[in-house]
Every structure is written in C-alpha cells, then in structure tokens.
Subunit: 321 residues, 2 copies
C-alpha cells in the first residue's frame, strides 16, 4: 500500500477518472482558471461535504463519499429545474490515507460525473486533518424548460414530492447504530443515505411545465424545507400518509416511537424534489412520473400542519438546543 | 460578547456585508442555486484558505483572513487577463468563536468584494474544527481584451512580472518569527503576506495587448511557476536583480543567508502577474505600467537558470522531503 506523495500524484489520479474533453469546456484543469463556454443564464451552487459532519469514514466507503459529495450538489441544480453542466472541487486530505482509498473516492465521484455528463474543470487541494470536500456545480435550463424558483406558490396549489421522504433518515439512524452491518436489514435506507438516487428526468419534465410554480431540493426535511419553498405569508397543510412510505422508513419510525408520517416529514438528506402546481396538473403529473406523490396543499396563512397537527423543527448546524 | 447561534445569524451577518443587487445576478442567495446572467465565455477558479495551512489566527486578524481569502481567488482571475464577476463561499466555523470576530472577517471580505464590484451569490456553512474557507470566483474577458493562458510563450520572448516578488515570503518569515510584532520592522512585507495588493489595471491593460502571449498568477514562487507558464520544451534564463527588490525583501534574504535574487525567486504567495511578450513590447509596457519588471527570457531548452545558475525547487503541500 502506498500513499500519494505529491500534488502531482493527486492530479494524475484525477486525470484518470475525469476526462476533460467536453463541449462546455474551452480550457480545463491546469491554468489559473478554467475557461467555459456558457449559455446566457446559469445556475450555480456550492456545498460542503465534511468528515464527521456530513459523513463518517466508519461506514462510508470511499466510493460512497465520492458519489454523495457530487450527488448532493447535482441535486441542488435539479431542484432549480436545471441540467448540470460542470463542477469544481476543493479537497482537504489527511496525509496518512492510502493511495488506493483516494482511487476509490475518485472512482465513485467519477461514476456520478459520468452519469450526468459533467466535466471536472478545476479545483484546489490541501493537506488537512479530515477528509473534506467543497464542490461547486453549475447548470443551465433544460432544453425547452425554465428555471424553477422558490417563493412562487399560490394558496390552493397542490404540493408534491418526487423521492422517498424519510428513507435517508431511516438509513442514517441504522448506520449510526450498527455501521455497515445495518445494510443487511435496511438495504434501501442505508443505500439512500450513502448516496441518494437523483431524479434528472423528473427535473426535466417538471421544468417544461409552465404551471409548475417552483421546484426545490429537499435536503433538510419537509418540515424545514416546505416553509422555505412557500411564498411569504403562506403555510401548508401536509398529509403524506398516502405516499407509500418505504417499509424500512415505517419500521425505523416505529422503532423510534414516532408516527411514520412525522418521521418522514422531519426527514433530512432526502434529496427529493419538492414542487407546487395546480391540483389537476399534479393529478396528471403523477400518472406520468412514477414516484411523484401529492403531499398536501398551500394555505393562505403561515404555519405548517401534518395530518392536521402543527409541525415545527428542522436541522441547523449551529443551533445549540 | 456573544456567539452566532444559528445559520440564520450567519446569514444576517452576510446580508449586512454583501449586497446582492448586481447586473450579473438574476437571483442571489437563498434558493437551491443562484441564477446568473453570463457572457459567452467565463473563467472560473476555486481555492482553499485553511487555518494553520494557509493562515494562522495567531497573527491574522479576522479582517486579514476575509480579505486574503477572496484576494487570492481574484488574483487567479486577473492572471487569466480577466475581470472578476462574482463569487461563492463555503465556510467551516468553530462554534466557540465570537460573533464580533465573524463580523470583522466578513467586513474584510466585503472590502475586497466592493473593491472589485463582486456579488457573493451563495455558499454553504458548517461547524468545523478550524476556520476554513473555500471560495469559487469567476470572471469574464476585460472589455476589448482576451483571456491569456499559459503555455503560449515563444523562445526569445521577454518574461516580466508585475508585483514585488519575494516580499510576501519575507513577510511570512517575519510573522512566523515574531507574530504581529514583526509589523513594526517589516511593515510592507507583513502587509503583503497578510493580504497582497492586486493589479487589476495591469491585468486589463495586458489583456488588451494581442502580443502579450500569456499571463499567470505567481502564487508558488517564480522558481515553481515559471516552468508551468512556458510552452512545452522551453526553459527560461531569469535575472531579477534589476527588479528593485524591496528593501525588506533584501534584509530578510540576508538574514536567511540567501542571495536576494534567489530568495525572491523562491518566493511564494507573491500574487504577482507573470507575463511574456516580445522584448520591444516589454520595454514599452514598462514605461506604461510602473512596477512591471523584465525578469529574463524564454529559451528553447527546458530548465531554469537564475543569473546563470540552475534553479530548482518550489512548494508542494504533499511532498515529504
């Protein structure tokens, strides 16, 4: 087993996993900046993915880290109703990690890059105490589509999600309890936490519907993210019991002593798409998009209810209570 | 003294220091992505700025950290012969730092953003063991200018720099020895290390000269960066004695027992501009650009000499020797 001994070793590894030739890229890695061909409007997002904050090496294999670090950023682009175009990477690397481990991390990241056709156009690298990744991803409108923002909902709109809310939370709890041994009993939930499956086709289809008022990436749980999605002064009446919650989500909710709907609504790291549209359109869309589920309606007063009961909460890295 | 207790507190602080209204920004912070109006081609760069790797809190005031973290990225854009357009920020924050300290960091970063007219369009935030920043900055060609790449030099071209090479290295040594007390004896050198002055006007002027073959941001010292700047198969004969090295650089070189030219060429964190052009043009440019200094010529064989002596070296975060 050997270690990567220089920046050059890292760059060689990156060169093997990330081809640079791409219609979007005029000049790739190796200069002060990348040079990119751009559409008239782009969307851009950046996310941290840090050891012991966002993942644990105890149960994340390096491939999982590589995959998820890119997927969570791509999910933000899909949540704008947009197609991802490219990404850059900042990496901190403890010097005691073997070369093979990095090889596997970049292989995982390369899988997600290839799946979405994304060039890695540049980055920065430093020794550091923990494995840390900061990715920036940008995208363009889907052909024939338009960017979908938050804050455009209207009272009476139906709210919907695409993606299994609560499943990643079930996976996190299982992994925290038993590490990768939990994968035997909770294969779907652990897999979703280790790297969510994204919904580019749904993003594309929804971006082309002018009556879809907005889209959003659900990453902190519906309870926290729905209020961020609504136009000012609005609230929502949620009811997700009809969403065919995954059996592993139901099992973990019961083990936690929480109603499954509440467990799923608190969620976190779902990386589902949340959208709003007139009710008849949502009914029609659910026929065309398997996995789309109506989760309630927009109300004309602030406040969130779940099955009629007021709902609070959410996750904040800095809250001390 | 109080601490920032939530992400909201950070976002409020950021809102105070970074206005969002900007012709480049369609939609700023607060959605899954920012939406940006873009020219046909952009350049993009990303850099880490990490506690105890790139700065020490022992002698960097929070304003310095804020200023330098953005300046080093802007420098990469200027090094492409480009005008910066906007930036995003990932931040890791120990939870035991006072709110006032963050206020000062964002005030420093806001100064540099205002100086270059840059909107902060988005970011991410996490608790972390050390203060860590990962910034992404992008830019567009200066009006009437063109991007300037590496690797376009021709044998016989004159090489030049804009910026005081070696000065930041002198400042780093002084700060490492005596902390901020070193600012009394080495005011210019310590100031340059704490936050380099950039050269946007020189970048603009040079980007408009078709005969300027390329530009580059010198961040690892001339000895390491000149070979990266040259076209394959080329070398350079450097002679920087004529560059009026700063008296503080000369003093620190002598204290280190190194010829000042060598000390300056090894440099590091100069954030100077390095360029190449035909000799007559360089003579003309040095009249128009105070601070521009011819530092040698491109040769048709690999290898670097300084005042006739072969030169190696450079800084690599991972090299163990």
């Amino acid at each position: 087993m050997s270690r990567l001994r220089s920046e050059e070793d890292f760059l060689d590894l990156i060169a093997r996993h990330f081809p640079e030739s791409h219609p979007h890229v005029i000049l790739g890695r190796g200069d002060d900046c990348a040079l990119l061909r751009c559409p008239a409007e782009i969307c851009l997002t950046t996310d941290l993915f840090l050891e012991d904050r966002h993942f644990r090496r105890a149960y994340f294999e390096p491939e999982d880290i590589g995959r998820k670090s890119l997927a969570v950023n791509v999910s933000d682009v899909l949540g704008m109703g947009a197609r991802p175009l490219g990404f850059s990477l900042c990496l901190t690397a403890p010097t005691d990690i073997e070369a093979e481990w990095w090889e596997r991390l970049f292989a995982g990241m390369g899988e997600i890059a290839a799946l979405h056709g994304l060039p890695l156009v540049g980055g920065d690298l430093s020794a550091g105490d923990g494995v840390g990744l900061a990715l920036t991803v940008w995208g363009e409108p889907w052909p024939g589509g338009e960017f979908k923002r938050r804050g455009k909902t209207r009272p009476g709109d139906a709210l919907f999600v695409v993606g299994p809310v609560g499943l990643a939370r079930a996976g996190l709890l299982a992994l925290e309890e038993k590490g990768r041994a939990a994968m035997a009993d909770f294969p779907s939930a652990t897999a979703w936490h280790l790297c969510p499956t994204l919904f580019p086709s749904a993003s594309e289809l929804l971006a082309r519907e002018p009556e879809v008022r907005g889209l959003m990436d659900v990453s902190d749980g519906l309870a926290q993210d729905v209020p961020r999605f609504l136009a000012p002064g609005q609230g929502a009446a949620l009811a997700i019991a009809g969403c065919d919650l995954h059996p592993e989500t139901v099992a973990k909710a019961q083990a936690a002593g929480q109603p499954p709907s509440l467990f799923a609504a608190l969620g976190g790291e779902d990386y589902a798409l949340l959208g709003a549209a007139p009710t008849p359109l949502v009914a029609e869309l659910s026929a065309r998009l398997p996995g789309l589920c109506r989760i309630g309606a927009v109300t004309d007063k602030p406040g969130l209810t779940l099955d009629g009961t007021p709902l609070g909460g959410g996750f904040d890295h800095f809250r001390e209570d």
